[in-house]
């Protein structure tokens, strides 16, 4: 059976190898392979680096949040990136949100509270599109919405290069190596020193990109640390249990004549 199994898979491989590869559109729209820096949260033992999370939040707060929403993340959950209760309260109060109606039936504006979702910079996508030409996407799930995830965001942030000769861009578009079609509406968001880090780290572009990707991955997968820690314990337990089952099976079956 082993031999025929091998033959079968050899045939399958041959058929697959003969087929054309996926994607890889030639021409000016070609996207180079994504940059793949190492992130602390990758791999079985990977966890969020607390300092990077905090710095990443600072990048988001000082740069990204001026245009992008983070609608699915509540202010109070930011304690996980190292903000104190007082800092969270102050942060939420930075922006106003519509509330009401009050006793007179009027809507009114009030400062944000820690229980609110991160208040977006624009009341709706249309208002954002009216300013920028295209609505900046919500970043809550950006790290899981695109092929490559964190690598995709990092590559976009690092991918602003001068347009190659002969490529003309529509007005208000910017050339980005990694963006499908290369013409992106987002101006290059990061410049050296664009962020003042509380821990004194030098704010280079790769540093900021790396940190903010860590933060955005946390925003999309806030339970990653807990998931991986629990996973190690569960798999260890199941492995031990399986060994016991197998030993028991050998013991129970030892007097049965059978060849399979």
């Amino acid at each position: 059976m082993m031999r025929s199994l091998l033959i079968g898979f050899a045939v399958a491989l041959a058929m697959i190898a003969g087929a054309p590869p996926a994607g890889a559109a030639p021409g000016p729209n070609r996207i180079p392979p994504l940059l793949r820096p190492h992130f602390s949260f990758q791999g079985v033992f990977g966890r969020y680096n607390k300092a990077a999370l905090k710095r990443g939040f600072e990048v988001f707060h000082q740069v990204c949040s001026n245009c992008h929403a983070l609608n699915r993340v509540d202010y109070h959950s930011l304690s996980a990136v190292g903000l104190t209760k007082a800092q969270i309260k102050a942060l939420a109060a930075e922006r106003q949100i519509q509330a009401g109606p009050n006793a007179e039936g009027k809507m009114f504006m009030r400062p944000g509270r820690p229980s609110d979702p991160y208040i977006p910079p624009f009341p709706n996508a249309e208002a954002a599109a009216a300013v920028y030409g295209a609505a900046p996407p919500d970043l809550s799930l950006m790290a899981v919405q695109r092929k490559g995830g964190p690598d995709f965001i990092y590559s976009i942030l690092m991918g602003f290069v001068p347009a190659p000769k002969g490529v003309s861009l529509p007005p208000n578009k910017f050339y980005n190596e990694y963006f499908p079609g290369h013409a992106i509406s987002m101006p290059p968001p990061l410049a050296p020193g664009a962020v003042t880090y509380a821990d004194g780290t030098k704010a280079t572009v790769p540093q900021m990109a790396h940190d903010v990707v860590t933060f955005l991955n946390w925003a999309a997968q806030p339970h990653l640390d807990e998931r991986k820690a629990l996973g190690l314990r569960v798999l260890g337990f199941v492995a031990f249990l399986t060994i016991l089952f197998y030993a028991l099976k050998r013991q129970i079956w030892k007097n049965v004549d059978q060849r399979d």
Partner: protein
């Protein structure tokens, strides 16, 4: 076998009035099982285990899920972020669907290899196919519920397949949608059916077991049980063997759940559904890709038969074909071990289905379409031409006289008529 012997008077009292304990004794303890079943026979119990996991996790998800187009995506995100261990329950359910299909595909191919669909197990086989079809419907509707981009566009594309039928096609599609596009009525009925069908499947699993316990298990030699020496009681032999299988399976399943939970999913489905923006490449979940390739293999209208209608009919036929397998395969020998040619073409079929799955994931370019057409043609050729011909012309190797005779070399008529698995 019948009549439970017990010293416990409570159990005896209950059993006289409702023989649950006798039933358990007969079907899960004493049930005589061929002693030569290999590990490929674990996949039935594994699929049953997975069904229970899906129902349990699904019920907990349903406690927090909102089947409304405005709130569905947000409610799933809420489960992932705020519900206690919601991320675990949802990842178990999501990856569980993938694992369920892997298990059931192996279970089906095991049946194909060892001829488990042949007399007297036709009913058993047919019930299995009905379960499989219901499972596909359930999985498809479940994928729509998170209301991501691929949920919405997948639902649109697949329900639109019914528009291929002449005259009534459009009406069928609008009836399925409950409106003029995939919307709230569609999502609501998909949720209702996604909750209902697993319980229908559960019922059919018991009918499947009923049929199995009537005709008894097939075995790797594919020959009938001749004497009590050929069998061993289900408990403790196969209960403990099934536990080993569940342990190994859990290691694989949970490794994905905890360390690569989104590997099998399309990232696009984390973008909320937007009827105004079509994703550049719509493709179904991996377990539907072979059928998707068959669907897309038909590219030319013939005498008013649109290519789409041909594709839809071929896709349905590729599954319905399995109902006729007991007659398409005319060979009296069940197990592929004693069928030298069938053993080879079986693996060719496996390779063909794997290739169809891969091709189904590719964007339709002319070269891809040609490969898909070859693979589709071979799929039907296998069942409609090869199998009937093999039944007539293949010369099987001699069968052992009994399961025990095959195991004890001294008693065997021919020296080792089988190879090791």
């Amino acid at each position: 076998m019948s009549g439970l012997k017990t010293d416990n008077r409570v159990i005896g009292w209950i059993d006289e009035r409702l023989p649950v304990f006798s039933m358990l004794q007969n079907s899960a303890v004493e049930y005589p099982t061929p002693k030569n079943l290999n590990y490929w026979w674990n996949f039935g119990s594994l699929a049953g285990f997975m069904l229970v996991v899906m129902i349990v996790t699904g019920i907990f998800l349903a406690m927090h899920y909102v089947p409304n187009t405005k709130m569905a995506f947000g409610s799933v995100d809420h489960i992932m972020r705020d519900v206690n261990y919601g991320w675990l329950i949802r990842y178990l359910h999501m990856n569980g669907a993938t694992m369920f299909f892997i298990l059931v595909y192996i279970h089906i191919f095991r049946g194909l290899y060892y001829g488990s669909y042949k007399s007297p197990r036709e009913m058993l086989w047919w019930i299995g196919i009905v379960i499989f079809v219901l499972m596909m419907a359930t999985a498809f509707m479940g994928y729509v519920l998170p209301w991501g981009q691929m949920s919405f566009w997948g639902a649109t594309v697949i329900t639109n397949l019914f528009s291929a039928f002449p005259l009534v096609g459009r009406a069928i599609v609008h009836w399925l949608w409950g409106g003029f596009s995939v919307g709230d009525p569609t999502l609501n009925r998909f949720f209702a059916l996604h909750y209902l069908l697993p319980f229908v499947i559960l019922g059919l699993v018991f009918v499947h077991l009923w049929a199995l316990h009537t005709v008894k298990s097939n075995n790797p030699l594919g020959i009938d049980v001749k004497s009590p020496q050929d069998t061993i009681p289900f408990h403790p032999y196969y209960t403990v063997k099934d536990l080993v299988g569940i342990g190994v399976f859990l290691l694989i399943y949970l490794a994905f759940v905890f360390f690569h939970p989104n590997l099998f999913g399309d990232p696009v489905n984390y973008i909320p559904a937007n009827p105004m923006a079509t994703p550049p490449h719509i493709e179904p979940e991996w377990y539907f890709l072979p059928y998707y390739a068959i669907l897309r293999s038909f590219t030319h209208d013939i005498f008013g038969f649109t290519a789409k209608l041909q594709g839809v009919l071929a896709m349905f036929a590729s599954i319905l074909l399995l109902f006729f397998l007991p007659w398409l395969d005319g060979s009296r020998v069940r197990s592929a071990r004693f069928r030298p040619i069938y053993k080879q073409v079986f693996w060719l079929l496996v390779a063909d289905v794997v290739a169809l799955g891969y091709l189904g994931s590719l964007p339709p370019k002319p070269a891809t379409v040609t490969y898909m057409q070859i693979a589709t043609a071979y799929y039907f050729f296998h069942f409609l031409v090869l199998l009937p011909l093999l039944g007539r012309f293949e010369k099987p190797r001699p069968l052992p006289t009994s399961i025990s005779a095959a195991v004890l070399p001294a008693a065997a008529g021919s020296p080792r008529p089988m190879e090791k698995v």
